[in-house]
């Protein structure tokens, strides 16, 4: 028993000694942001040089550098909002995929729904007009037939039958 305890103690001391003397592997305090994290922000930005190409899809050298900036800022602990603002400060509002709602930019948000509503209203109005016109026409035709007397209808039917016989 004593021998067993001595062995266990020796093993424990050895492990403690080894762990203290061997160098520790340093772990990174700030892990490198992944491509997905970088692209999640890059998707919200447009290439300042190429037209209408989102930064996550742009393959130019300049775009690679800009994505590098996003990666660096994320690693430094910048938030998404701070990174977007940084790009706006550098390259202007046009770099944002969604223009900020201020000044003339409001038109981008107001004009399409307004145009849609105006179009829908015009369509509805025209539809009502057509329907009203059709209803009037049907009523007119009904009145036309009912205003004729029975002998007139019989004469009409007789003419129709004659024409059909002659075909």
């Amino acid at each position: 028993m004593r021998k067993f305890i001595t062995q266990i103690l020796a093993l424990f001391l050895s492990i403690t000694f080894l762990s203290l003397t061997f160098p520790h592997v340093a772990t990174a305090q700030d892990p490198t942001p992944s491509d997905d994290e970088v692209n999640a922000i890059a998707k919200q930005l447009y290439c300042p040089v190429c037209e209408n190409i989102p930064l996550d899809a742009c393959a130019t050298q300049a775009c690679t550098q800009w994505r590098g900036i996003i990666r660096d800022k994320l690693a430094e602990g910048w938030s998404e909002k701070e990174i977007n603002q940084y790009f706006v400060d550098q390259y202007g509002d046009r770099v944002l995929a969604e223009p900020p709602p201020r000044g003339l930019n409001w038109l981008v948000y107001l004009v399409p729904p307004a145009a849609f509503l105006v179009g829908a209203y015009l369509l509805y109005k025209n539809f009502r007009t057509w329907r009203a016109a059709n209803d009037e026409q049907d009523t007119g035709q009904e009145q036309d037939i009912s205003s004729k007397t029975k002998p007139e209808i019989d004469e009409y039917v007789a003419k129709l039958e004659e024409e059909l016989r002659n075909r």
């Binding site: 300042p48 706006v88 003339l104 105006v118």
Partner: protein
């Protein structure tokens, strides 16, 4: 009243579209026009305002580190800057670039005249720059004397343009 509002709104929208299209069609700022004033904050923090150089010939060069044809031109512009020894002002405007790459580019090309980033692309928008390199040479009265779209072909070409303005 409703019709007035609808037609008025449409007219206002068309006017805005016309203004936007007109601006897009304008093209670069032309020879003989007054050079738009600007303040350039160089990479070293110094500020350079164009209006302060009235009475001197000023060369405003738009470049970027990702621009392949800008590099050979940079050497020629630097040679010209050294040739005039401060009698002609050279200002380099870094167009939609990253600071790290821009500074590396300046070191590689050994450019010593003031260079700075075009924050929010305000300067390039004022000069209606479409791409890089583009150079605007401003005479002593503050008017555009020469517009160079694309790189200068040689040091001599630059000198031949500046000399008549400078003397």
């Amino acid at each position: 009243m409703k019709k007035i509002l609808i037609w008025g709104g449409l007219a206002a929208l068309l006017l805005l579209v016309a203004i936007g299209l007109n601006r897009a069609q304008q093209g670069q700022i032309g020879v003989g026009e007054l050079a738009p004033d600007f303040t350039l904050t160089a990479f070293d923090g110094e500020e350079y305002r164009l209006a302060d150089y009235k009475g001197k010939v000023v060369v405003v060069n738009f470049w970027a580190s990702w621009c392949v044809t800008c590099k050979p031109e940079a050497w020629d512009l630097e040679s010209a800057w050294r040739n005039y020894q401060g009698d002609v002002i050279f200002l380099g405007v870094d167009y939609v670039d990253t600071e790290k790459e821009a500074k590396a580019y300046l070191e590689e090309t050994d450019v010593t005249y003031p260079n700075g980033p075009d924050k929010r692309t305000q300067i390039s928008q004022a000069y209606r720059v479409d791409g890089v390199p583009e150079t605007f040479i401003i005479d002593k009265s503050g008017k555009i004397a020469h517009v160079q779209i694309g790189p200068f072909s040689s040091f001599e070409e630059i000198i031949n343009i500046i000399d008549p303005l400078y003397k």
